[in-house]
């Protein structure tokens, strides 16, 4: 997994609550058998009209947000389906971190398993970041996992939390399966003690 330590990037505001994974990657694009190739389908129905032309007013299509790597958005982001295609698409599009008041559980885990950092912040803080990213052209945010802080260039410093285990996995880019396999003996013992009916 790609490690995540400190990332500074252009922030884009997506001012919606309850953004579901059907919006992040519509289902007609889930038929690929690879993990790659989903970035082009990110927010497809919001980015493109019926003729496949970019919708000029959708925030990701505005010239000033091209190259954004940090997504600022509303509560309950990533609700709905468990499709990991959603974080794959966000990552491939270029996002490294998502800042929101809350995330759906499965989506949150899926992000962490792909080196995409979901950061939970107070709703007021997200609102302020969203305001700044809307008003100021070229608004950059630093997401620092070493210090567990979100910062901007105007002195905003906001701590966030991530459990120590998850944090280490991300900082070092560890493979969760390798870590679990260190417990092979314990798994075998569990199986021996629970033979089933």
């Amino acid at each position: 997994m790609e490690p995540f330590r400190v990332h500074r990037g252009l922030a884009v505001p997506l001012d919606r609550i309850n953004v579901d994974t059907d919006q992040i990657v519509p289902k007609q694009f889930l038929k690929r058998v690879e993990r790659t190739g989903f970035g082009q389908f990110l927010f497809y129905d919001w980015r493109y009209d019926e003729q496949g032309q970019p919708r000029p007013d959708f925030v990701l299509n505005l010239p000033r947000y091209q190259g954004a790597t940090i997504l600022i958005t509303g509560a309950n982001f990533g609700c709905g389906s468990s499709r990991e295609h959603a974080p794959w698409a966000l990552k491939e599009y270029g996002f490294r971190a998502i800042l929101a008041p809350s995330f759906a559980d499965i989506f949150y885990n899926n992000c962490l398993n792909n080196g995409l950092l979901p950061v939970r912040l107070e709703a007021e803080v997200v609102g302020e970041l969203m305001r700044r990213a809307t008003e100021e052209e070229g608004y950059y945010v630093t997401v620092d996992l070493e210090a567990c802080q979100v910062r901007d260039d105007h002195g905003l410093v906001q701590p966030f939390e991530l459990d120590a285990f998850r944090r280490r996995m991300l900082l070092e880019g560890l493979d969760p399966i390798d870590i679990t396999l260190e417990h092979e003996a314990a798994i075998r013992a569990y199986e021996a003690a629970h033979p089933g009916w």
Partner: protein, 474 residues
């Protein structure tokens, strides 16, 4: 010492390793696979040179993108070559790794959350995962069942375990008396309307109380299915005599003396009287009416006797904007009576409401009537077994004579990954679980309802209060 909840008991029985500062490693008893979320997991295994640790605890089916038209051996699996490739990939993976697969031609094929219980794979006290959020359905049996992503699917394939922080616990106490025509679907929709689509985020929910105790397994599955729509990690119901009677004799359920031993264990699982939950919600169903969603999130729901709300009624600005956007997408005017909303399509199907009981209830409404002119209605049984049983009972004739299409099993228009989709602007009464924008087809408008409400809408061409038709019997 304080007592334990059902969730505590199932959790503790599956902890393989617990170390300070790390998520406990949970053993997984049953892993279900389908064609859409598994290919990348198998590919990962192959690249790392790993095998499937317990193919005997792993079962696969195809459901999400299968066609629901008649299946003719020798024909391509799907007219869509990419979907066909995804199914062929699953066949190859299951063969290579030694996993039992209920493929398109199997009499056991069906929606993954419907066939697990039907085959007796789903049992009380088990930990069950699947790369699909509605895995929560299996919690109806007192199992701890939750959806996972593809990386986690790979993790479980390789290790039969999953590192997991223990979620908090929530009791949802359901009391009162359900009126005739008010169903489990209305209970869960009404509940989500009350607590919100993130009302249970971070929690494992246990549904309790007299209404739940009286529910059939099918009804319990419906409310557990949509626990995820309230944000819950899982929904659970304590196993009881209803559960045991459902399981006895099913193919993968324990038999004879083993069944007796299993029941003796399952009887120890219900929450102790002195156990406490992290959070408690009480939901009284006595005045609950049939529910209809009006927006693009399952929490945007109201009584069939109600009206489309005016967004300006919502105090919270974010909720107001979400409601405005939803009404625009849905093409609805504030204040419109729900019963005046005309529909173009009806879908009776999905892992929420496509079991035999659901089809029987819908058939009661449809019997001897005709689908309204201009409405296209379809029934997609949740599994081939259900389809067969329904045909034995003549339900297919009732639907077909009324003008419904009678289809082969699959997810179908629940998510529209196959050919069964809404056209832009079409409005659908659907028994599924999600009314997200574009869920049933780009630009399609979904109203979530119960099977009897969907059936009634098909006959009248608009929503009607099924209680007033006088066709339902208890």
């Amino acid at each position: 010492m304080a007592g334990k909840t059902l969730f505590d008991k199932v959790w503790e029985a599956h902890v393989v390793v617990e170390e300070p500062g790390k998520p406990p490693l949970l053993y997984i008893d049953l892993h279900l696979l389908h064609e859409v979320t598994s290919p990348q997991a198998f590919e990962g295994l192959r690249l790392a040179g790993r095998r499937v640790r317990r193919p005997d605890l792993t079962f696969a089916t195809m459901d999400h993108n299968v066609p629901t038209t008649p299946r003719i051996p020798g024909q391509p699996l799907s007219p869509d070559p990419i979907a066909a490739q995804q199914m062929e990939t699953l066949i190859r993976n299951c063969r290579e790794f030694g996993i039992t697969l209920f493929d398109l031609y199997s009499p056991d094929q069906g929606i993954v959350h419907i066939i697990g219980p039907q085959l007796g794979l789903t049992q009380p006290g088990k930990t069950i995962v699947c790369g699909d959020s509605h895995t929560s359905t299996h919690g109806a049996f007192g199992a701890l069942a939750f959806g996972i992503g593809t990386s986690e699917v790979e993790h479980v394939l390789a290790t039969q375990t999953l590192p997991q922080w223990k979620p908090k616990s929530m009791e949802i106490w359901i009391e009162g008396e359900l009126g005739l025509g008010v169903t489990a679907k209305d209970v869960i929709l009404g509940l989500i309307g009350q607590i919100g689509t993130d009302g249970a985020t971070g929690y494992v929910v246990e549904y309790r109380g007299p209404v739940v105790e009286r529910m059939t397994m099918e009804e319990r599955m419906t409310i557990c299915n949509m626990a995820i729509e309230a944000g819950a990690r899982a929904g659970m119901v304590a196993p009881d005599a209803t559960t045991f009677a459902y399981l006895e004799g099913r193919r993968y359920a324990p038999k004879g003396a083993a069944f007796e031993r299993a029941v003796a264990y399952w009887e120890t699982l219900p929450t102790d009287p002195d156990a406490t939950f992290d959070h408690r919600v009480v939901f009284d169903v006595s005045r609950l009416a049939p529910q209809v969603t009006w927006g693009t999130s399952p929490g945007m729901v109201t009584d069939v006797t109600g009206r489309v709300p005016d967004p300006s009624e919502f105090a919270d600005p974010e909720t107001r904007r979400a409601a405005e956007r939803a009404l625009e997408y849905m093409g609805l005017e504030p204040g419109t009576p729900i019963q005046e909303i005309k529909i173009d399509r009806v879908f009776i199907g999905s892992c929420t409401n496509a079991r035999l009981e659901d089809l029987r209830a819908a058939a009661q409404v449809v019997r001897g009537k005709k689908v309204a002119p201009g409405v296209r209605a379809m029934v997609v049984p949740g599994s081939q077994w259900i389809k067969y049983q329904a045909e034995q009972e003549g339900l297919d004739q009732i639907f077909k004579e009324a003008g419904f299409e009678w289809r082969e099993a699959g997810c179908s228009m629940c998510l529209g990954m196959n050919q069964d989709i809404l056209q832009p602007g079409e409005r659908c009464a659907s028994t599924s679980n999600r009314n997200f924008e574009g869920r049933q087809g780009r630009g399609g408008r979904t109203h979530l309802v119960s099977p009897v409400m969907a059936a009634a809408a098909a006959i009248y061409g608009h929503f009607v209060d099924v209680r007033e038709l006088g066709v339902l019997t208890a």
